[in-house]
Amino acid sequence: MTQISSDDVQRLAQLSSLQLADSEADSLAADIENILGYVQQLAELDTTGVEPTYQVTDLENVWRDDKVIESAVAREQLLALSPESHDNQVKVPKVL
C-alpha cells in the first residue's frame, strides 16, 4: 500500500498551488493514504490490450468556423470581477 507522509502531502500541495497548514497536512496524509488504498483494488483487473476511455459522447472533432463570436459579456464587466484592476488590465503582485 502506498504510504503518504506529511511531506508527501506538502509536495502534492505545492503541485496543486495550495498552501496548507501543517495540522491540515497531517490529517490529509491519513485521508489520502486511505483513499489511495481503496482505489488500488483496480490493480486486480486485467486490462491488457484494453483501450482507455476518456470521453463518452461518441462525438468527434466538433468543428466551427474560425470566426470571432461576439460575446454577450463586455470587457468592463469581466474586469470588474477581478479583485484588482488598473488601466483596463488585471493587476497582480510582481512575479519575480
Binding site: S17, V50, P52, Y54, P83
Partner: protein
C-alpha cells in the same frame, strides 16, 4: 404547490398570476429557512419577471410551456439576481456576468428562478455537509443529511417550495439526494443538457438534470433544457422527446451485485417491491450479475479527482473570486487564496488528482482507471443487448445522520457506489421514490438505460407511479 402543468394552465388562463406563484414560493422559502436549503433568494428579479409575464399574458402573448413556474437552481449554476457561490468562500461574492444556458432556456420558456440552493462546495460530496456555509437538513428528518451534492435542490422540492429544482450529477449528486428526500431525480445521458455557465467539476461525467415531485413534471423540464449548444461542444443534437405511452413488456435486469447483505434491509425490501410491481405491470425482471460494477467507485475516485484538479486550477485569485490579502509573491497569492477559498474536501480531491496524474503514478492509477472504465462500458453494452432497462437501489442506505460519516472520506464515498457506474458510462439514470423505512425515511429505486433512452426510462417510471 401545484404540478407544473396546473401552474402553467392557471397563469395562461389568468386564473392566477405568475406573481402569486412566485410570492407563494418566496413565502415557503422563508417558512422553511431552518432547513438551510437555500443560500440566496432572487426575489427582486423574480417578481419583476413575474409581473412582465403577467402583463404579456394579459396582452394575449403565449409565454411558453413553463409560463410563470417558479424554480430553484443549485448554486453552481451562473444566474442573475444573486451571487453564484458554488457554496464556497472562493466565489462568495461572485456576481455572474452571464447565465447558464439551462437557465436561459428555462427563462425563455417562461420559468422564473426564485433562489439558489445549497450544495457541497464545488459539488464535492454526498451530503451537503461540505458547504462552506453549513449543511442542509433532510426534508423528512432534520437530524439526517440532505444527501448531496445537490442537497438543497432536493430539499426545496420535497418541502414543496417550488415544483422543480435544478441540480448537477457527476456521480450521483442528483439521484442520491432525490432518494434521501423522496422526490424524483433525473440524471440524463451525458451531453443532453448544455453545461455552459455551470461551475465545472469533472468534465467527462458532469451532467445537468432536475428534481420534481413526479415524472410528468420532469419530462417537461428536461424537454425544455435538452439540445445542442454552440457554447458546449459536448452537447448532443436534441434526441429527447417525452413518450405518450410506455413500451409494454420490457426486459429488465435487477443488478444482483447491489442487493447483497451489506445493503440496508429496507432498501432491498423496497427495491424488491418495486420489481414485483414491474412484473405485475407485464414487464420481465431477471437477476443479472455485473461483477465489474463494484470496481466503479475506485475508477471514479481516480478519474474525477484528476479532472477536478485540472478544472479547479482556474481559481487562482487573479481574474475573479477570492484573493488572499497580505501576500508578497505570486506563488503565495495562489497558495493562500486556494487554501482560504477551498474546503478540505476540495483540497483532498485536488491533491489526489495531482497524485494520480503525476509522473510515476499516471499509468498505475489514471491510465488503469480509464482502461477499467472501458471494461465497465463493455459490460453495460453486453447487458443492454439483452435488457431494455436495469434496476437497483440508488444508495446502500436511507439518509444517514449529520456528522455520521464526516470523519471518514472513504465511508462517505461508499454512499456513491450504486450511482457512480452509470455516470462513468454516460448513461441516463433516474431516481424514483419507492417508499420509506420504518422511521419514515425515503428510499429510492434507480432505473438505468442505454445512452439516449432517457424518454423510455421516464415513461416507464411514470407508468409505475400510480401502481
Amino acid at each position: 404547490m401545484s404540478h407544473i402543468s396546473a401552474i402553467v394552465t392557471d397563469v395562461k388562463s389568468g386564473a392566477r398570476t405568475a406573481r402569486s406563484y412566485v410570492e407563494e414560493a418566496l413565502k415557503k422559502a422563508e417558512e422553511t429557512e431552518a432547513y438551510h436549503a437555500l443560500l440566496s433568494l432572487t426575489s427582486e428579479r423574480a417578481l419583476k419577471r413575474a409581473d412582465e409575464i403577467d402583463v404579456r399574458v394579459a396582452a394575449g402573448e403565449d409565454m411558453g410551456v413553463l409560463a410563470g413556474v417558479p424554480f430553484v437552481a443549485k448554486d453552481n449554476f451562473l444566474a442573475f439576481g444573486a451571487p453564484t457561490t458554488a457554496a464556497s468562500k472562493m466565489l462568495e461574492n461572485f456576481d455572474a456576468p452571464l447565465q447558464a444556458t439551462a437557465i436561459e432556456k428555462l427563462e425563455a420558456a417562461g420559468a422564473i428562478c426564485v433562489g439558489k440552493a445549497n450544495l457541497d462546495a464545488f459539488a464535492h460530496g454526498g451530503s451537503t455537509e461540505n458547504s462552506a456555509f453549513g449543511p442542509t437538513k433532510n426534508a423528512i428528518d432534520q437530524t439526517k443529511v440532505a444527501g448531496g451534492s445537490s442537497g438543497g435542490s432536493a430539499v426545496v422540492t420535497a418541502l414543496d417550495v417550488v415544483p422543480f429544482a435544478l441540480g448537477t450529477d457527476t456521480g450521483g449528486s442528483i439521484r442520491q439526494p432525490a432518494s434521501f428526500n423522496g422526490v424524483v431525480g433525473i440524471k440524463p445521458t451525458y451531453g443532453t443538457v448544455s453545461r455552459y455557465g455551470v461551475v465545472a467539476m469533472a468534465s467527462s461525467t458532469d451532467t445537468i438534470g432536475c428534481f420534481t415531485k413526479d415524472m410528468a413534471d420532469a419530462e417537461l423540464v428536461m424537454d425544455v433544457m435538452s439540445g445542442r449548444d454552440r457554447n458546449d461542444m459536448t452537447t448532443l443534437p436534441d434526441f429527447f422527446a417525452p413518450m405518450t405511452s410506455v413500451k409494454p413488456a420490457q426486459k429488465i435486469g435487477l443488478i444482483k451485485d447491489f442487493m447483497s447483505d451489506d445493503v440496508d434491509a429496507d432498501v432491498r425490501a423496497r427495491t424488491n417491491e418495486y420489481v414485483e410491481k414491474l412484473r405485475a405491470a407485464g414487464h420481465t425482471v431477471e437477476e443479472i450479475d455485473m461483477p465489474i460494477a463494484k470496481y466503479a467507485l475506485a475508477m471514479y475516485y481516480i478519474i474525477v479527482p484528476a479532472e477536478v484538479s485540472s478544472n479547479l486550477a482556474r481559481y487562482d485569485g487573479i481574474r475573479y473570486g477570492h484573493r488572499a490579502e497580505g501576500v508578497r509573491t505570486l506563488a503565495e497569492l495562489y497558495g493562500k487564496t486556494r487554501d482560504e477559498g477551498f474546503v478540505t474536501e476540495n483540497k483532498r480531491r485536488i491533491m489526489i488528482g495531482s497524485f494520480v496524474l503525476s509522473s510515476g503514478f499516471f499509468d498505475a492509477y489514471y491510465q488503469q482507471a480509464q482502461k477499467a472504465r472501458t471494461l465497465l462500458i463493455n459490460a453495460y453494452d453486453e447487458l443492454f443487448a439483452k435488457y431494455d432497462v436495469l434496476v437497483g437501489p440508488v444508495a446502500p442506505t436511507p439518509a444517514f445522520g449529520i456528522g455520521e460519516n464526516a470523519e471518514d472520506p472513504v465511508k462517505m464515498y461508499l454512499a456513491d457506489i450504486m450511482t457512480v457506474p452509470p455516470s462513468l458510462a454516460g448513461l441516463p439514470a433516474v431516481s424514483v421514490p419507492a417508499g420509506t423505512n420504518n422511521a419514515g425515511l425515503p428510499i429510492g429505486v434507480q432505473l438505468i438505460g442505454p445512452r439516449k433512452s432517457d424518454a423510455n426510462l421516464m415513461a416507464l417510471a411514470r407508468s409505475m407511479e400510480e401502481k
